[in-house]
Amino acid sequence: MAENLTKLSIIEACEGIKNRQFSSIELTSAYLDAIRSTDGDLGAYLEVFDDALEQAGRADSAVRNSSRIDLEHKFGRVGGVPLAMKDNILIAGRRASAGSKILEGYVASYDATATKRLRDRHAVFIGRTNMDEFAMGSSTENSAYGVTRNPHDRARVSGGSSGGSAAAVAAGMAAGALGSETGGSVRQPAAFCGVVGLKPTYGAVSRSGLIALASSLDQIGPVARSVRDVQTLFETIRGNDPLDGTTVAARAYESVPVADFNKRLGVPEAFVSEGIDSDVRANFEASKRLLEKEGYEIVPVEVPHLQYALAVYYILMPAEASTNLARFDGVKYGLHVSGKTLLEDYMRTRAEGFGKESRRRILLGTYVLSAGYYDAYYNKANAVRARITADLNAVFDSGISAIITPTTPTTAFKIGEKASNPLAMYLSDTLTVGANLAGIPALSVPSGSNEDGLPYGLQIMAPRLREDILFEIGDDFERVRDREQ
């Protein structure tokens, strides 16, 4: 029975709890058992919360004291369900280290807005998951607390930076999870681990309580085992927030013509014709055939500046990161290393507290923002970013509902394989960063696996505020994929 409980989707699990078929305590216990037996050699969790069963107990108490009708409103479709939270999303009273030594021991003094919205629906937070330090990385190898191994092959990475969240969900150690995106950090690990991951429209989900990396790019994104589950999590956490001035207006989603779109999909053929492994390319072709079986028309489209997206990203993101990470100075929170002067306190604290990749990116960001280089790098990158956004919007305006590509150029690589070459690691993001730069939503859906069991992912991108298009196409794709298996 317990094993079967962890196979339920979020929607099914919540339904079962609301219908009193089983309790949140039973469900949470089943997941805690799964973590005990599985996470030893995966390392997805940095901490399993010691009050998980207490939280579940409170959810069960709410079930007992509410009518079935009231429960719909109180629980939504997530009440009583255990979720994993990435280590950069604040939960009041809980540690958050953003995968870094510089925040070791830091206890959050408030809930992230996304946390609060889940808490208000009686979701259970089962633990915090491993990540690349400050979300800088594509493999979770940059965590100060060790790597998270891929559940499909323990010699390989789970992807990053939300590797822990993706691995936890893929290995049945949580019903769903929250991760965060800046350049693909939910979609890429979702693809590597064979689960579904969403990057919402920029501004759809509040960034209040998300430890910042790049403020014009960051978004919290859900991970789960099905498109409808990801949709459920997204609809629970999204919304206007007075604490985040970049969140979309409250009425923004109300005027969206939900699921009203033509079935014309675009593939940026020039962009996906190089730098992608041949087996990934073959899997993508197979995905296109599956979509055509479901009545989709797939046409080539041009996104001329997309080839520059990675270069733009690796100027803007380090620049914003260098600013956001300036707050870690050993004074207000976290690690403090003492030098002879205040300045030395800063220099030594940050040298010891930040890992190699973080230091590299902060220096890179400092360089591109410094006098004499600001115009050539930062301003230039911003201008090209506007081009990429315009290119993508022009495709959507021409009658294309969504753009599809593989999510990643390769399947999960081996641990250590790209560690010594930063640029090789950055290239894993080449297919995902465009959506972050343009602020448009994008979804990764599992699209099969190779003969070694390593998953492939299909990426779908839609116009701003059109997550509904992603969910419909994603749901159709899951159905035809499973039928043709």
């Binding site: 003094s109 001035g245 270069a311 690796y314 220099m347 990158a381 950055y426």
Partner: protein, 95 residues
């Protein structure tokens, strides 16, 4: 070419101490990355500054203050060194 002096300058700006052994590798890494991102110089763009996000200057009314000190203990409990409602730092003036 990124020189050792350039790395030192960045180190000072970023407030991160870089050891002599790290300097060379960092210079190489940064050179490699900058060479890659410099491909942007090929792209024709307008010279005017561009807005990054669709929203701008989001304000709220200056109301709803909380009681002074309501969060002080909570926030200071995270500080590595604190005393009497203050965070402790080394000398700033005349340092």
């Amino acid at each position: 070419m990124i020189s050792g002096e350039e790395i030192e300058k960045l180190s000072a700006l970023a407030r991160i101490h870089i050891t002599d052994t790290e300097k060379k590798k960092l210079a190489e890494d940064l050179e490699g990355i900058l060479a890659y991102v410099s491909t942007l110089s090929q792209v024709e763009t307008d010279t005017e500054a561009v807005e990054t996000t669709p929203v701008r200057n989001v304000f709220r009314e200056d109301v709803g203050e909380h009681e002074p000190g309501a969060y002080t203990d909570d926030l200071l409990s995270s500080a590595p060194r604190a005393k009497g409602g203050y965070v402790i730092v080394k000398k700033i003036l005349g340092a």
